[in-house]
Symmetry: C2
């Protein structure tokens, strides 16, 4: 039995103001191609298909198209669980019909205990669940965290284990010892919900979703696939991809994905950044987090850089910014209105319009009123 | 071929502040029972399954349950189109899988031209569409209204008509000559979009959705089913139900539904309304639009009536309310703050709290500012 393990698609997610739709579609096409090229027996998506419980219509259309493409066009069995970003209820739409074409979608805890068998592998699809759901399911008032629920969950699954078969758990939670990055939303109770690895070692493989870095956990048989795309600056140096997993004999291989538009960090001086010899060597079209080494004030900095690098997502100063002591004194004496107007001029190279001045004045007035 | 024709479920709709979930569930159970009792070959739902494009999770769960119950549990073929209240894109989720169990769901204009055949009847399922969709589909820049699109649509359908079969159109629009009531949202272009009946007379039967009154149109073979529930006071005297339709030999019968909680109008004096001999004869639990015959000021009127009639949805004065000429003069002299405070006291029997007074003052201040 051979399958692809992916997760955390977060369809509908934006990177600052940018829609990631084209990049997500391109990553999906690569996943599909890999699945076909490696002749997998199934594709596993371990939760967070959507970025939010209430996805917009465009995201709904994209997910519908993707799931139909894998399962109905490419005729690949599809194993999906809901993650903490998905609305289990919305995602559940159509579920009972899907299994006729080997599309298994689990959105409720109770469904996790009926294994899906493909070739000689039993898949236990455990959707993201809140502790109260486990408390209710096991009628055990002592369950207050996901971690507390897991031993009981695994025990219940073990009762279904066929000795001559392999067992794979598909789940969406924070496994103890994993490293978080910036783009993941914390699961409810901070820290308390880390699932100990001991509970997971009963399986031949655990296909996890939730963390966006495939190296978040260093275990041969318990893995995060990570997201197919970089979703934050902290992921700039991560290699994104999917796991190719064989259950018998056991083997895993990480298959990289190539982003349609990359996300990169760029540390340099303003002079370098604006020199053709420098910028022609850069991936100028990438989503860029620029870290300026300059300390001087640079007029129109963003405007100038955007002409060369159209997708800047952040601009920071590696070494801070020079402010002369006399200037500090001057700044301290300025009224907030004047400070704001100076700052705007310095940053954008343009003075506030009369209308903008009015807005600023009324906002500051309101702020002062709230302070009282 | 025999089918039930229903429409305009508007799952998720509220009646003033009241959730209609229990009433909608009860109506659904009756529809299901009728379908089974009359051994229909299919159930037709002519649009507006949901009340809004973005239904809440409770509504999604309810609709999913209903559609599964009809098609998967009761194993009845199900023919559904999207209405102007539905999000075609959201409703479309799962569609390609549904037809395996004879659940045909059409959400796009292009799908209308592939008839669904059940026994010897061809069903053309035409979802609600915007004029631009028809303009694009027919590549005809002259189409600006639904009415203008219909002759072309019907003509395209006619090319599929099998002479030895019956043809049924399922659609969701305003048919010319129909009577509107209060609870229907107007379709885009006021008036211009009324579909002439001539376009519809090619069919053995036209199962319409959109208008909530089953008597909105008086045609033997072109009918609105109306909504299963009363959604506004203007529908208080309507008999709600579904159509039972036989295509060969052609026959229709209106099957009434009994509301779990009715919506009624009640015209009486305050004295009558509060007399046991009177109110014990009323359906006190109904959603009530009370029309008071009194003209005098009645202290605590709403509070008192609610103790007897817990689900009042409106309170009006049939004959207006007495105001003595001296009082009019007095009122004219009062500042808005004092007027509001007097009105509140008169209506609720309680004085404004200090906090409420503050709110009122600041709201009136803001209103005065906007007036300038």
């Amino acid at each position: 039995m051979r399958f692809l393990h992916t997760a955390d698609w977060h369809i509908g997610k934006k990177l600052h103001a940018y829609s990631l739709q084209a990049e997500q579609e391109a990553a999906f096409q690569q996943i599909l191609k890999l699945a076909q090229q490696y002749q997998v027996d199934a594709v596993v998506v371990a939760g967070d298909i959507y970025d939010r419980a209430l996805p917009n219509e465009q995201a709904v259309a994209a997910v519908n198209r993707m799931l139909q493409t894998i399962n109905l066009k490419a005729k690949l069995p599809l194993l999906v669980i809901s993650g903490n970003h998905d609305s289990a209820i919305r995602l559940d739409t159509g579920r009972p019909w899907f299994k006729a074409t080997q599309f298994y979608l689990h959105t409720k805890l109770a469904q996790a205990f009926t294994p899906i068998e493909i070739k000689k592998t039993q898949f236990f699809l455990l959707p993201y669940f809140e502790p109260f759901a486990a408390r209710e399911y096991f009628a055990d008032p002592k369950i207050h965290t996901i971690a507390q629920a897991m031993p009981k969950i695994v025990q219940t699954m073990q009762a279904q284990f066929a000795p001559d078969k392999q067992q794979v758990l598909v789940a969406h939670f924070f496994a103890a010892g994993s490293q978080k990055s910036d783009s993941e939303t914390a699961l409810t109770v901070g820290g308390l919900d880390a699932v100990p690895l001991t509970a997971l070692q009963k399986f031949d493989y655990v296909a996890l979703g939730h963390l966006h870095n495939q190296t978040a956990l260093h275990e041969p048989r318990i893995k995060y696939s990570g997201s197919p795309l970089k979703f934050s600056v902290s992921e700039a140096n991560q290699q994104k991809g999917v796991w190719l997993v064989d259950t018998d004999p056991f083997q895993t291989q990480f298959l990289p994905l190539t982003p349609k538009r990359d996300l990169q960090e760029l540390t340099a001086s303003f002079a370098e950044l604006t020199t053709p010899a420098f910028y022609n060597k850069q991936d100028r079209d990438a989503y860029l987090a620029i870290n300026l080494t300059d300390t001087k004030v640079i007029p129109n900095v963003m405007q100038t850089l955007r002409q060369i690098y159209p997708h800047i997502i952040s601009l920071t100063r590696k070494n801070g910014r020079d402010v002369a002591p006399t200037q500090v004194k001057k700044i301290r004496r300025l009224a907030p209105e004047a400070l704001l107007s100076d700052f705007f001029k310095e940053t954008t190279g343009q003075a506030l319009t009369t209308q903008q001045e009015k807005w600023a004045t009324s906002a500051l007035k309101a702020a002062r009123k709230e302070d009282k």
